[in-house]
Symmetry: C2
Subunit: 210 residues, 2 copies
């Protein structure tokens, strides 16, 4: 890459990192200003416009980073869980590890899911849908829940995502130095996902429980 582009990418990343750092401090993404993000990136306010038109524009680029993080997570999960005896608990633990390694990014995600502009919300939603579809594909590949329709399997996958989204919000509010509380949450979530999979295994198109 040319020197000029390289430098450009550098400040661009500084700007995005500055916004993420703000979120990581517990501040709301929608409450940061262009000037503030520029200041923290060590750059003059107007330089911001060389990279993004808007804070929303920057946010959409953060979604791309999120996307990469999620894909990496999935790849790693597939490598580790191929023969699988503790598939669910391993996956949840792996997710939590990634979550803690990218706190700011996941915080941004859960904020953008219900805050932010309509387009931003949509972008995050699409990422989560993609994640759910991949999960469905894995279930199919592993010949799990073969008695269910593909649609129902995707529905189940989405349910698992929602469950995991629940732990996400809770974990992000626990200080990083409280592993005991982390463990509690993890166990709870593992049980929840297991209940979901157990229910799916017994599902027969029309459930006896209504």
């Amino acid at each position: 890459m040319s020197i000029r582009l390289e430098k450009k990418q550098l400040t661009r990343q500084s700007l995005m990192d500055a916004a993420l750092a703000w979120v990581d401090e517990g501040q709301d993404f929608s409450a940061i200003s262009i000037r503030e993000v520029a200041k923290r990136a060590g750059v003059v306010p107007t330089a911001f416009y060389r990279h993004f038109t808007d804070m929303e524009d920057l946010a959409l680029n953060l979604v791309d980073e999120l996307s990469i993080a999620l894909r990496r997570l999935m790849r790693e999960a597939r490598q580790k869980n191929q023969q699988a005896g503790h598939m669910i608990s391993d996956s949840v633990r792996l997710y939590v590890a990634h979550l803690l390694a990218h706190r700011a990014l996941f915080r941004f995600m859960s904020q953008a899911l219900s805050g932010g502009s309509a387009t931003l919300r949509r972008a995050v939603r699409i990422e989560m849908q993609f994640f759910a579809r991949e999960l469905e594909a894995d279930l199919q590949a592993m010949k799990l829940l073969p008695h269910l329709s593909a649609q129902m399997r995707e529905n189940i996958s989405q349910l698992v995502i929602y469950t995991v989204a629940g732990i996400t919000v809770e974990l992000l509010d626990i200080p990083a130095n409280q592993p005991a509380q982390h463990e509690k949450l993890i166990h709870k979530t593992i049980a929840q996902v297991q209940v979901v999979m157990l229910g799916a295994a017994h599902w027969k198109s029309v459930s006896p429980v209504q």
Copy 2:
């Protein structure tokens, strides 16, 4: 109530309504200013301080309104579903009805759950926990899932809440005039809750699915 207090409550409510209206327009709660909320309430900026110290203070009072709405929802659910053949689907439908009747309040809730200040997040979380505990109490009263420990029943209740939280975010992004899409989501959610309850019914302390 004295005339003075009555008038005070009136402008107080105007301020809270103005903030909710802002959220209902799709704007972020954390992005509204004291001046803006005062303007929309038809009152001078400094009058705001006669009622709230902060926007966060106002937000915490909105949580109280939310709390009332949730309690009303639970009471109604109990009255309607006593003998119950379609308990799950009826409950989900009732929830969606309340959600649509108080769009702004639920939007505020889902924003505050992951956005906002730590205390605000905590306040909303506590409301949801309360909701989950009530659900557990109902399960117990109806002698549903009697083979589970109280803790596991609460865990299941929380799982149901998360599931419903999922539909909440999705529903709020569908224009109000698209009942067909609403129906789709409702059916999906009903199925999800049924899967959860089915899994809970088959749960035997250590799940065969791992």
